[in-house]
Symmetry: C2
Subunit: 454 residues, 2 copies
């Protein structure tokens, strides 16, 4: 009986945790730096909160929790005899695991509306669960790191969030391209070609341009019922290139017949001007093929890619105008971003960008030669800890080789040895595991030596 974990889930050991904590704490610090406050919501939400928010497919991907106790009590026997899983669910399950942080956030805002100061700027870093088929890079449990501001439609929020993204990736030392678009530009395009009702079709097709190229996208648009004429009108937009200013100017020209489209370009321009005047380390690119989460975003759309690793988007976000409407609180505009921790983890691994030093790592291990030496060691260890040095003592007086082997295997940089000689002098022999050097030191000298090396 070898124990295992559910497929699509993961254990994180000490090394992975140190790396994940580095990512999370970087993001958390920057969220706070930009004035976002943390909240947490329960892992379980009522199914009435979750169902119908992620489309039909999403409803199926929710993990549902069986009601406690005798969950079949009161269930109509005829319904049981039917053996219809979908119908039975509502009778035997009323809670599900959260699928993302956005719907719980919307629920939170409505539920606590009277306690919140608007605009409300919140961040949230918690796991979510999806009953997706597991595959490489896709898990059934993964963390999301979201920041949103609701209750303000000022574009300053977009500018701040893009600055925030830039700061996070500068700290993580990942070179990025931040792609920007605006839902109103996409609406303008649909309007322009006289097919506003085809907006979804157009954007779904456009979204694939990176993968399949312009010709295939044109074919798909034809299949989706657009006229050849409409496709010709769209084409120059897909071929837009040049500097940000050139792209904006071209868009303005092509969309001159659409009020909505022009508003989209104006917003894009304001955002780009704002961030560039503040100085960006990432490159910023207008990308009209960017259409993520379309049935959701109403203004700015943001997507971030790593320059040096071929991987999907590592952060995304945008503006939505009606987050809380579905919970009975209409007209609340918001904008938010979500960092993909797992992909960022992969990028840092691929580029070997983790800092050498983990602030939390054990810095020193005391060897154990028996009760008297251990007692003396523990006093010295206490002094080291009081100076903020993480350390341990080998709990058993095992063979020296075994004890040193532990320090080696765990990458502990210093070993302290307190034998009879050292005890007599109230000192320790401190061995630097990298250089092999060792010196006889008092506890305060050892503190200085260890801190000097960190």
């Amino acid at each position: 009986m070898k124990p295992s974990i559910p497929k699509g889930t993961r254990d994180f050991g000490p090394v992975e945790m140190a790396r994940r904590n580095y990512i999370f704490s970087t993001i958390r610090q920057v969220f706070a730096l930009f004035g976002y406050s943390q909240i947490e919501t329960p892992a379980m939400e009522n199914l009435s909160t979750l169902m119908g928010k992620y489309g039909e497919e999403g409803d199926k991907l929710l993990f549902k929790i069986l009601n406690s106790g005798d969950f079949l009590r009161g269930v109509d026997p005829a319904m049981l005899a039917d053996a219809d899983s979908v119908k039975l669910i509502s009778k035997i399950s009323e809670k599900g695991l959260r699928y993302d942080l956005t719907v719980p956030f919307a629920r939170f805002v409505v539920q606590h509306r009277n306690e919140l100061q608007m605009p409300f700027k919140r961040f949230q870093i918690q796991p979510v669960w999806r009953a997706d088929r597991p595959q490489k890079g896709r898990y059934r449990e993964f963390y999301q790191c979201d920041a949103d501001v609701v209750g303000s439609d000022s574009l300053i929020n977009e500018i701040e969030l893009i600055q925030l993204i830039d700061e996070v990736f500068a700290r993580l030392r990942i070179a990025t391209i931040i792609k920007l678009n605006n839902r109103k530009v996409l609406s303008g395009i649909a309007e322009l070609v006289g097919a506003p009702e085809k907006l979804i079709d157009i954007t779904v097709a456009i979204d694939k341009i990176d993968k399949i190229g312009i010709e295939k996208v044109s074919e798909e648009l034809l299949e989706r019922g657009l006229s050849q004429e409409a496709i010709s009108a769209i084409r120059p937009i897909l071929e837009i290139s040049g500097s940000t200013e050139e792209r904006l100017a071209k868009l303005e020209e092509v969309l001159s017949g659409s009020e909505t489209g022009l508003l989209g370009v104006k917003e894009l321009r304001e955002v780009v001007t704002g961030i560039e005047s503040l100085g960006m380390r990432a490159s910023v690119e207008i990308d009209v093929s960017l259409a993520r989460g379309l049935n959701y975003y109403t203004g700015t759309i943001i997507e971030v890619k790593a320059r040096d690793v071929a991987i999907g988007s590592i952060t995304g976000g945008g503006r939505y105008d009606n987050l809380t409407g579905v919970f009975g609180m209409p007209g609340l505009s918001g904008v938010g971003i979500s960092f993909g921790a797992d992909r960022i983890y992969d990028v840092l691994n691929a580029l070997d960008l983790y800092p050498a030093d983990d602030a939390f790592a054990t810095r020193v291990m005391f060897v154990n030669f028996g009760p008297a030496e251990a007692a003396a060691s523990m006093k010295m260890l206490k002094a080291l800890r009081e100076a903020g040095i993480s350390g341990e003592i080998y709990p058993d007086s095992a063979k020296m080789k075994k004890q040193m082997g532990r320090a080696d295997a765990l990458g502990i940089p210093f070993v302290a040895i307190v034998g009879e000689t050292e005890m007599a002098q109230g000192k320790m022999t401190l061995k630097n595991m990298h250089t092999g050097e060792q010196s006889l030191l008092t506890p305060s000298e050892a503190i200085a030596a260890i801190l000097g090396h960190s």
Copy 2:
């Protein structure tokens, strides 16, 4: 349709999160200081891992997750017709939410045995879920903060863990009593009165001594089938008092006929001597009525109470000799402790012991007078953030009163005002919200002023 969350679960807003983070980060820092490494396990475990580990009652309190897809497919129609919830569970659910951190830790150790360096010292801070009836102070989702070391039976581990507990509560400024017992002492008592098979009965009764007193405990022991003679033999043990040394001496005397009992006293003495020679801020007390988690602990038993707040134990732990046996890896001794974050939260609230300053809190808000002033403000805000100061700008050029109201409501200590005059000079008017003082400052002067006040 007012949205809500499942009963027994909680939302945590910004203020609660700051307080909870203070507790968690204090505990995490001390765990690391003592050489424990963090791990995380999935929220969902296979039911085969969880079932049967917490007793019959525990099995019922597990939250079970409905299999995805058509979960009724393949279920025998006769079984459905039976409508027997308990039998049906194994057919329609194979995963459950973790109930504590101990069983997942045991599973982790066995599953990763070949990658782990023994002794393995791990800490884990994650939520757990129990389908308990919610009541005051008892939730269906709550965090546990555990540290365990497995693969060593040295009492140095106990001494280190008790020091660790002492350090956590010293940092949190909570005065505590650390109560110690040893399962072998309890076994010795049962042996002594000739009723080793009554060990559970004896300890269950003894455990109530604080609540119901010696007389009632004696009555209960009689009801549980102990002879009057046996009860008389136990009585002096229950009445033990005096200093730690006096208590140990008395126990030694009473238990002189039991080898196991004497070993328990010897272990207790070694632990107490060890921690006292290192200096403790908590008071340490031998308490033979301490019997928590008895069907589990095999040696040292630890329980911590707050001195100044009447609340249950805020931390507990002990040694177990066979954590991983149930997963096919026998003979691995370990000792661990678990901090009760929710009760610690209540204690800090009751004693008003939270630090005034939250390192992550927003320190400054820029007022927004319109596009030009906002643009100038955002440049200054950027400089402040580069100096590590968390800040925001009011995103809309709302009425001054409304903007100041936000800073006030959120307790932001400084407001920066950049109007036309300030803009012309590249300065800001910085207002200290506590004193009402305001001064015209350059960004670097403002940084000094804000940092000087934090």
